[in-house]
Symmetry: C3
């Protein structure tokens, strides 16, 4: 595996990858020899807690050394784009920085983010694609402007572990939030669930439709309570509008996930990728309940990442 | 050992712990197998040099992997407290962040700090207690709002190594400083010395009395020169007022530790936890003298931490 | 080897050091036992990408553990100089911080930088010299105010690998830049080339003469095109004026390295230490050409550092 950026990179062996992740959990250090003498470089362009720690833990299980670069603080400001005259703030072009990092690391992970100002720019995934083009080594997305594939793989593993029926009803629900957030997590969640053949319903206020490229095959329901009926999993997440790009169209607290709404479901498990705004996205009573699986879900970030790294190491 | 936050956590075996630390110094890597395949997470909420490095060194001696999280820079701003509606700056609740870190690490260390604005809040040790409550793994305090136990253990080891009589006279002296500092170091120093049966004198200007919970059993002397007489160890430290909470009542340079005052002692050793304001807290001539043991004292931070980590690893 | 700060530290065995670096490249992990149970501390006072990563990679090859300290962010602001009264912003004196770090690390690396405000101060190399004086362990310069020896050693290795004649003509050319930069890279490049017996020409606008201490033995040519004739290597770099200390005397884009000027050379290779301002220092067409060896040059930072660390470890 030369890159891990979307479900397309693993579509051919998705069920095996999930099984492998669950196996790794039982014997975390079974493949410690694979990463011996190998270095994983992790480049963060914005804050990270789960990704930062779970990736280091996964690499450690595989015997790899990790070097973390906080690209927003430790290094030079970077330029991107072709043919530009670099007489401004940026001291280094991303193509040079990435080519150099590829000389020092055996695998590179990168977390970039959506600016939310320009839809075309964000969806062009310039930073991630510059890494793929110039690194010369395999590249893992640690979340990009429009996708968060390690999160989605962890989500799928979690659903596989907790599901009570062969084809559970999974509901992705929009929830309010004080700030404009990217569509990366919901985009990715939708495309991974659909690729895995999950029965997916998405519910959100009008105007919050995601890019169809990711959601084709899902049911879109504008009535949240209607959507929750018979759900086996409720996955809450805020995102800003795709159509009115990057805008907040609603902060309506009627969309907060509450105990009363959870009662409409088939005793559904509650999921969220974290970090979560308590009592805005979801009530304490829900996230602190027995049905909340947000912590095991976060813990599964290790095994998702480890399954991917293992494949990459095997193909080096 | 499930937590290390104050002398109370080790009161039952304090002399053994000190002996063990001194033993580890002679064979640093003797227990390298204990930490194999284990991860220590270090969470810093404010700057740190000695703690950051000595803890990593101690973990390395024990064969552990360390992951450092600069919680003030690398991750999301955190909220705390029950039932709050998170519609402000904080993107994540500390209870969720800690629970997640506990999934990725086998032991967690945390450095928090006193705000010095609200005595009750600082002395409630909210952050440290949130770690203990939500981590699900052993927690080490790397300094909290009101205590710095790894420093005090290192101080005790140092006094054990340098003392010339079975029960030396140790003097903790307040010293001036341009900024308001927490009471964590003097609180902790006092409670550890007293728990170890040391003859402790504390000297400071009036109004700088520490919380009696920590100092009960120590002599309080307001005349610094009087206190220095026959001292075997002078431990200098500034702190802000506990009574007039967080305030600077004095910047009086007559409290600076000088050669002339050191001459009143029983050729006492000079100690300070560092970082130290030279020529404000202590004159160059004292800290650079043969009697100054601030560097061996700092070096002992490794063995203090290693003795604690070793116990924790043994009880995992 | 107790310090690595300039070519003088390795002058007695420079050809062997280069051979050794090239050997290490063929068997990176051959000396992994040397660094076992050893800790390398890296202290950065300003941003770094290549140095940060290549040094960690080199240490990893040698089996060493690395601890990184971002001294501008992770720790306390530091004071320097003798006898100062520390009642300002700085919480710790560099002499204490360095002595402490020397207790926790077996080798220390430090990156400091030129303030460019005061020539005497910069050329006194206060920070680097404080490390050498107070660390008590071997010290490697990761670039200082006036030299960048690991870069120059990597440059020499690169020229050794790519040269087509026994004594190639190497041209160091000044190039324009929007900001005032230190003389560290050109100073160091000149002294290393000359120590290695390279035929060195330096070209720059008048007023950009470097300190003669570094350039004695090189040809100084003010006509860039004249200098490029028959060159085997073009090494581009901006620096601020040494005479009019720290000033930008010219931003003249006629000094940019272009394809048309490269045509004057003996099919010269293009070198730059990176980061580079594209289309200001050098045209895309040159740096992206087959003759550009900036990426292998950056990759050689690993072997330069590893050869130095190996010598230091052998002498511990």
């Amino acid at each position: 595996m030369k890159q891990f950026t979307s479900v397309a990179d693993v579509a051919n062996f998705l069920p095996e990858l999930i099984r492998e992740a669950i196996q790794l959990k039982k014997a975390p250090f079974a493949y410690q020899h694979l990463g011996k003498n190998k270095v994983l470089g992790l480049v963060f362009m914005n804050p990270s807690l789960r990704t930062r720690l779970s990736t280091q833990r996964a690499a450690f299980h595989l015997g790899m050394q990790t070097i973390v670069v906080n690209a927003d603080k430790d290094t030079w400001k970077m330029a991107s784009g072709e043919g530009i005259v670099m007489d401004g703030e940026a001291a280094e072009h991303i193509k040079d920085a990435v080519a150099v990092m590829g000389q020092y690391c055996d695998i590179l992970g990168v977390r970039s983010f959506a600016g939310l100002a320009n839809k075309e720019e964000d969806y062009a995934e310039q930073t991630l694609n510059d890494f793929i083009r110039y690194a010369g080594v395999p590249v893992i997305s640690l979340e990009s402007a429009t996708r968060h594939p390690l999160q989605s793989l962890a989500d799928l593993i979690t659903i596989e572990e907790y599901k009570k029926t062969p084809r559970p009803k999974v509901v992705l629900t929009w929830a309010p939030h004080p700030k404009a957030l990217p569509q990366a997590v919901p985009n990715s969640f939708a495309e991974w669930m659909l690729a895995a053949g999950i029965d997916l319903t998405i519910t959100h206020p009008e105007g919050y439709e995601l890019n169809e490229q990711f959601t084709r095959g899902a049911k879109i329901v504008y009535d949240q309570r209607q959507a929750f009926k018979n759900a086996d999993f409720i996955y809450a997440k805020n995102w800003s509008s795709y159509t009115h790009y990057g805008q907040i169209l609603s902060r309506d607290r009627h969309w907060t996930v509450t105990t009363e709404k959870m009662a409409l479901t088939n005793q559904a498990y509650f999921m969220h990728c974290l970090p979560v705004r308590r009592n805005v996205v979801v009530e304490d009573a829900v996230i602190d309940s027995q049905q909340s699986i947000v912590i095991p879900q976060a813990a599964n970030r290790v095994w998702a990442c480890q399954a991917v790294l293992k494949r990459m190491l095997e193909s080096l």
